[in-house]
């Protein structure tokens, strides 16, 4: 499939702030594409550029081969679901959904037929005469979806549509949005700061930061092989260990010296040269922890450590351990309730190990990533679903 929605070197400035900075991006037809990034990274501006609420300072935006950069919002075959839903408060559910068709001056019969089909799709036929302020958050959202879809847009733009809902409802609407995407088969451009949403819904994700796209790829690619330290730190949790390359084992592997530990083996796909300072990133769930010394295997890194913190999270436990001056977080799933092993406790001496393929080396991060990398230990109860995705 060819590219359908295309950004060509698009820039948008607000005064001195570069909200979108020379972005080029191609989105395929029928794709569920997410723009993911922290607040202020420019993802919403990207969406508003497609919708036509903002005009780029430079670059072109193409939809199905047609240059839409200079078209007003009402002339673009895209529709938006707003974060606040933006339902018209003085109209009923029925009138809200019918708005687009009425503006397009469709016949009464056609409007009636289409609106009723939409009401059926969102299972709200009996709510049609209500006004938006009589609806629950989830219902409002469904009306917003119906109102946007009834115009048969070529691209549906979703601006953090789940941000205003509580967790349980969010999970249900997530499934619903996914089903609607399968049903209508149009291109979805989904903006979110929630990696869980992006990971579970998207065909592809673009991770954005400071108005630029850091990486584009399928969810697993983004999580497993982040290209930059920003992506590694933003998507899921990770340990960043500062070290340098001491020698190359062969074409594929090299040895690192990290803190006082030398000979740490790591997959080297970046052909980093000897003596290069690097950051070794290892996902917390890729590290094993045990009180007994594990068996020595090729490509296995084993370090002695002391447990500093144990955070019980229900289905998982997070350990913060110290190995010399390194502070490392480890996440373990509970397979059974420690029936046959003595639980690991605070201040225990343990062994930690990981496979050489599970760490990946990243170039020196930019200064701006500093705060992401040095995130303090998570507090108990903070949601941490993302690590279950691995």
């Amino acid at each position: 499939m060819a590219e359908f929605l295309e950004f060509q070197n698009v820039s948008k400035y607000f005064g001195a702030i570069k909200a979108v900075d020379q972005v080029s991006l191609e989105i395929k037809k029928g794709e569920f594409f997410s723009l993911l990034g922290p607040s202020g990274c420019g993802k919403t501006t990207m969406l508003r550029l497609v919708a036509g609420f903002e005009h780029p300072n430079a670059g072109r935006i193409l939809l199905d081969g047609e240059d839409i950069t200079d078209l007003p919002p009402n002339k673009r075959k895209v529709n938006t679901i707003f974060q606040s839903y933006a339902l018209f408060p003085h109209m009923t559910v029925w009138e809200n959904i019918a708005f687009g068709l009425r503006i397009a001056k469709k016949s009464k019969n056609e409007i009636k037929r289409e609106v009723e089909a939409m009401l059926h799709l969102i299972r709200m036929t009996d709510q049609a005469p209500k006004r938006p302020d009589q609806l629950s958050g989830g219902q409002k959202q469904r009306v917003a979806v119906a109102r946007a879809l009834i115009n048969k847009p070529q691209v549906l733009l979703l601006d953090e549509p789940l941000a205003a809902l509580d967790l349980k409802l969010r999970q249900r609407m997530l499934i619903e949005i996914d089903m609607i995407h399968d049903e209508v088969g149009i291109t979805f451009l989904y903006v979110t700061h929630d990696q869980g949403e992006a990971m579970s819904l998207s065909d592809r994700i673009a991770v954005m930061d400071l108005g630029r796209i850091e990486q584009v790829g399928i969810p697993a690619e983004i999580y497993e092989t982040p290209r930059t330290s920003f992506v590694a730190a933003f998507i899921g949790d990770t340990n960043f260990l500062e070290g340098e390359v001491t020698d190359l084992v062969d074409n594929e592997y090299c040895h690192l010296k990290i803190a006082g530990f030398s000979g740490i083996i790591c997959f080297n796909d970046k052909s980093i040269r000897l003596g290069n300072p690097v950051y070794l990133s290892i996902r917390p769930e890729k590290i094993h922890i045990s009180r007994d010394r594990p068996e020595e295997l090729p490509l296995r890194n084993i370090l002695p450590a002391v447990v500093e913190d144990v955070i019980y999270l229900g289905s998982t436990t997070k350990y913060w351990v110290r190995a010399q001056e390194l502070r490392i977080q480890i996440l373990r799933q509970h397979f059974r309730f420690f029936l046959d092993e003595k639980p690991i406790r605070w201040k225990d001496d343990v062994w930690i190990w990981w496979h050489g393929d599970d760490g990946f080396m990243l170039e020196r991060y930019r200064e701006v990533d500093e705060n992401l990398i040095s995130i303090p230990p998570q507090k108990v109860g903070e949601s941490n679903e993302n690590n279950e995705k691995s």
């Binding site: 919708a51 609420f53 007003p72 933006a86 018209f88 003085h90 209500k130 006004r131 009589q134």
Partner: protein, 288 residues
Amino acid sequence: MKRETRNKTQEWLVSFPSLFWLALFFVMPTAFVLAVALRPSNPYGGIGAGWTLENLRRLADPNYLIIAWRTIWISVLITFICILLAIPIGYYLARVTPKWRNFFLMLVIIPFWTNFLIRIFAWKVLLHPEGLIKRLLVFLGMAAPQTSLLYNPAAVVLVSVYTFLPFTILPIYAAADKFDFTLVEAARDLGARSFQAFYKIFLPGIRRGLFTAVLFVFIPSLGSYIIPDIVGGPTSEMIGNKIAQRVFVDRNLPQASALSVILTLSVLAPLIAVLFLQGKKEKPGAIF
């Protein structure tokens, strides 16, 4: 159900002080005026004994009808022009950056610092045959030297619009400020042109502010007396002037009261009708 009755009682309790106030200072005086309208006048400018419908009957005089009709159309015109000017101004005030907003709001409010009468007299000076505006218009060839800018309905409308405009701008601005402009974006997104989004989404969104603004202009215009007295002439007399004449010139209080009653009723009737209709419409669609 039980909760609803309790809420009703609470509502009554809470609104009692203002109801009492209204009864004491609005309903009772109005009733007095109505009573006086039904009394004969006496030659000394006081109220005679007995009851009569004579004062009300005399209102059918074609002279009064002409003046009543003029009062209404002048008031409607003033209201219309004020609203027409205030909507874009209110919209702009709600959209502009806070720094400029405060500046413009100041400009709207500053005239209140000068006495109302002085401002009306200032207009008289401006519109005077030797005044600045007249000379400028003659200079530009837009007015003949002998036309008068004063003492006609146009002068009354102009000065009234000037006087009442802030009272329309402020409620419309207040409503526009609370209006969620994402709704306009949503309408544009769904295919509406800017103007369609404006009148289908923005105007209904600020309808309460519009309603308040209309009342703030229309009611005082109907009872307007000083403005037509100062800048108006015989062709722009309004009911307010007639009432004043009956009181100060004819010293006929009952006749003045009869005119006042008609004025009050003609203001109250449409107001109550609108409130009633609105209340009916605003009721949410039966889920209690």
